[in-house]
């Protein structure tokens, strides 16, 4: 799996499309999936693990490109749900990074491979 992370509107999806073409499956906005899962009372860390396991079993994990926002670089939110989302999204990203073959951080459209 390839993980592409970075702040909002940094050109992550464009980077993914330009660099991972044939045969790759790109899932954009993974952080929104994390958020939605939490809103529905689910556990996003568990969901992420299941997604990875499924991809590994199906034998297409190396073609999977996940794109997600980093949301932790701000002041602690006053709202409890927002605090929890920030925490969970960070933990999910840490998990995905630990499983990834490559981690690319995109800042201002420029990708830097950090793993």
């Amino acid at each position: 799996m390839i993980l592409i992370i970075g702040g909002a509107y940094q050109g992550k999806f464009e980077y993914a499309k330009a660099n991972f073409k044939e045969g790759h499956q790109i899932i954009n906005n993974f952080h929104k999936y994390v958020r939605k899962t939490m809103q529905q009372g689910g556990d996003p860390e568990l969901e992420a693990k299941q997604l990875m396991n499924k991809a590994v079993l199906a034998g297409n994990a190396d073609k999977l490109v996940l794109v997600s926002d980093e949301v932790g670089s701000g002041i602690v939110p006053i709202d409890a749900f927002e605090r929890e989302f920030r925490e969970k999204n960070g933990r999910v990203n840490c998990y995905l990074a630990s499983q990834a073959e490559q981690v690319i951080r995109v800042t201002a459209g420029i990708g830097t491979r950090i793993k």
């Binding site: 993980l3 932790g72 670089s73 002041i75 933990r91 840490c94 990074a97 630990s98 793993k115």
Partner: protein, 233 residues
């Protein structure tokens, strides 16, 4: 030597910093300077979310060989030995405490009280701290007075000087600090929060300038942004 580890919330910076501090340990102890103040949400009980965070960190560092020193502010009174490796977790809490804690709130917790010279802090519960003072190395020569410290706020200056001084008295000082600067908040937050953000930013800059290494942790991955040659800065 001074080392800075920074990252956003839930970036994996603490876990990395713990491993990094362990890798630096030599003959001395591993001291964990815990700065999170156990806020009480009523007169007796600690806020559950705060307690949960404290417990999470305690569990994470259990069996890693750290001795914990709970020091919520006035870190200039920490006394450690020349050979010790210190991990301070974390700067964002220390700054918040220095800025917002009530003057009569305790500066140290129960754990590791002996490592803080409580007599000079003017605290109750004086411990045998003086036994821990290494008189040979307890210099107060600080490098923080050079350059941009002129522009630091008083609270930033106090923290920066205390930590640079502490780093000269021990083997290694690893400081965990937070990236809170990328949510556009410097435009929209209230004045007090903006002041906090600005203080944390200038503390990070001043410490990073003096540090031997600066590492950003991104999704658990350490990205080295500064590494001095071992022979010089």
């Amino acid at each position: 030597m001074l080392h800075i580890v920074y990252g956003g919330s839930a970036s994996g910076k603490s876990s990395y910093a713990e491993s990094f501090a362990m890798s630096l340990q030599g003959e001395g102890r591993l001291l964990y300077i815990a700065t999170m103040y156990p806020y009480k949400w009523n007169t007796t009980e600690i806020d559950p979310e705060t307690m949960q965070r404290i417990e999470r960190h305690r569990a994470m560092r259990a069996d890693k060989g750290f001795d914990t020193v709970e020091c919520y502010r006035h870190v200039e009174h920490i006394v450690a030995k020349r050979q010790d490796v210190l991990l301070l977790e974390c700067m964002s809490n220390l700054l918040a405490n220095e800025m917002y804690l009530e003057p009569d709130a305790e500066a140290v917790g129960i754990a590791g009280k002996a490592e803080v010279d409580t007599e000079t802090v003017g605290m109750a519960g004086k411990a045998g701290a003086t036994a821990e003072v290494d008189t040979e190395t307890a210099g107060t020569d600080s490098k923080a007075d050079s350059g941009m410290s002129e522009t630091l706020s008083p609270v930033s200056k106090k923290i920066v000087q205390a930590l640079i001084d502490l780093s000269t008295r021990v083997q290694e000082l690893v400081i965990v600090t937070n990236d809170v600067f990328s949510d556009g908040g410097s435009l929209t937050y209230d004045e007090s929060t903006r002041e906090y953000v600005k203080n944390l930013a200038e503390i990070n800059c001043a410490l990073a300038r003096e540090a031997a290494t600066v590492t950003e942790v991104v999704c658990g991955i350490p990205v080295i942004v500064k590494k001095n040659h071992p022979m010089g800065k």
